[in-house]
Amino acid sequence: MIRAAAIVVSLLALVGTMVPSILFFYGMMGLDRMKLWMLVATVVWFVTATMWMGQRR
């Protein structure tokens, strides 16, 4: 259950890494806010991906 949740959250974090830069590209988000959201997504990715990537089921 925890593993499944970690997979879902980490995939969302990957989306969260990408989406801010797309929004910035289309002028829908400022640079500082984009950097902040990318950092948040980065931290979430590394924390949650560690919980399932390379781990045995």
């Binding site: 890494t17 984009m34 950097k35 950092l39 980065t42 990715w45 590394f46």
Partner: protein, 462 residues
């Protein structure tokens, strides 16, 4: 994977599926050094067509080289390059090859430490090297490189598996950060939609013209040959026999496309865009510093990307260099050899010369190791057609195959002379060099068997 089946063929049960190779190539070739190479293209005055199409063709040729030159031999012999070379060239010549390979790995890993150190400069604000700097730029730079070099070395010696794990986790995230670099850079250069990309690419981003002072002008052919040959040691040089011996089928060579088109296409292009943003903001700021470039585009996430990309690729490189050196002194412990290797690498990292001249270094790396790839290719495919059986050293009990050694030395000598005296640039010399090496090995092998080692010939025939 490196420590398994080092002196035997990989058995069927140990063979890996296609996706394993896709992941490995994507991770290995999306490295910290991509953030150096992309900007150096801009510094070389490349135009949009030459960059986009030249890289496309060159990377395609690299994938074809892995698929049609490396993987077919790997999936037939199932041996590491080192063992395959030992069977052809003998143990003493392989030791020499290991020395050259290990030194090249040290220089490459040193440039990766240089890249990571530029990320520390963002936080600590010490003086960092410029495009033409060859020596350390101050105490802050030295301390940063020493700190990163020490950390990378200790982890390479004692915690390699941990870093490999971090590298796997970081790989998909890193690819997305590289894409983000490009999107942010494009927006900052005034590209508002993907539809106007090509027009802005020609007129604003990669406008061509003269290179920056001290740089060689890059054309379509430079881009194509650079993309094709920057991993020449791996494909045409056959180092990746060690990787593809685990492949179920030889067509798995196409998996290298993941590394080429994510790392050597997308990442190079996006990194070059960031450098154009920097130059347009301040034309006098020509320094190629991945840390500040990444920070300006994506903030702390960008800096983390530079550190992780540099570290996770420096680690296996130091580890491989250690293995190569350990083969020379097998009694020394691997940990001690890796620590010494890391110390050498860190010293290299202090000098920005290697990182700032990375385009030339990478081309040189391929040229130095390419002749042995030609020896393996000829020995495997053409030997019987030209009247000699493969694996001479193993069959005749030789520990130094002079035909292979002379092929290697003479090819390098001729290529070096062509570069220094013949006016041929380093990027172009390896293609004729490969044909020269193949021809030399055929001729020298026949001569060697007739004159220098008649007993060997008798043994082989017997």
């Amino acid at each position: 994977m490196d420590n398994e089946y080092e002196r035997e063929a990989v058995p069927e049960r140990a063979r890996l599926g296609f996706s394993s190779f896709v992941g490995q190539y994507a991770g290995e070739h999306t490295a910290g050094t991509e953030l150096m190479i992309g900007p150096l293209f801009v510094a070389a005055g490349v135009s949009a067509f030459d960059l986009i199409v030249g890289l496309l063709v060159g990377n395609l040729l690299a994938v074809l080289s892995w698929t049609f030159m490396t993987a077919p031999i790997a999936t037939r012999t199932r041996l590491t390059l080192y063992y395959q070379l030992e069977r052809i060239c003998g143990r003493r010549l392989v030791t020499l090859y290991n020395l050259a390979n290990g030194l090249m790995f040290c220089l490459l890993a040193g440039s990766m430490i240089t890249v990571s150190a530029t990320a520390l400069g963002v936080w600590f604000g010490f003086a960092m090297p410029g495009l033409t700097d060859l020596y350390p730029t101050g105490l802050g730079w030295v301390l940063a490189v020493l700190a990163i070099g020490a950390a990378v070395t200790v982890v390479a010696a004692y915690g390699y598996a941990f870093v490999a794990h971090v590298a796997n986790i970081a790989a998909p995230w890193m690819v997305l950060v590289f894409i983000a670099f490009g999107l942010v850079g494009l927006r900052q250069l005034g590209v508002d939609s993907l539809g106007e990309f090509w027009q802005k690419a020609r007129d604003v981003i990669w406008v061509g013209g003269d290179p920056l002072p001290g740089q060689v002008k890059f054309t379509f052919w430079h881009m194509m040959f650079f993309a094709w040959f920057c991993n020449m040691a791996m494909h045409i040089g056959m180092a990746d026999l060690t990787v593809f011996r685990f492949a179920k089928h030889s067509w798995y060579g196409v998996s290298s496309a993941s590394g080429m088109f994510l790392g050597h296409y997308l990442a190079w292009i996006t990194a070059s865009i960031l450098y154009v943003v920097q130059l347009r903001a301040d034309p006098t700021n020509t320094a190629v510093l991945p840390g500040p470039l990444a920070y300006s585009a994506c903030g702390i996430a960008g800096v983390i990307c530079v550190i992780v990309a540099g570290w996770t690729t420096a680690n296996p490189t130091i580890y491989r260099a250690g293995l190569a050196f350990q083969a020379i002194v097998p009694r020394a412990s691997r940990y001690r050899v890796t620590l010494v290797t890391g110390a050498i690498t860190t010293i290299v990292g202090l000098f920005p010369a290697v990182a700032m001249q990375l385009l030339e270094f990478v081309a040189l790396y391929g040229m130095l190791l390419m002749p042995m790839g030609a020896v393996v290719f000829v020995d495997f495919w053409l030997g019987e057609r030209f009247g000699f059986q493969p694996n001479l050293a193993e069959r005749a009990g030789l520990d130094f195959n002079w035909a292979a050694a002379l092929t290697w030395f003479l090819t390098i000598a001729v290529c070096t002379a062509l570069v220094l005296r013949g006016g041929i640039q380093l990027y172009f010399v390896s293609l004729p060099g490969w044909f020269l090496a193949a021809g030399l090995y055929i001729a020298l092998n026949r001569l060697y068997r007739q004159q220098a080692a008649p007993s060997a010939v008798a043994a082989v025939r017997g």
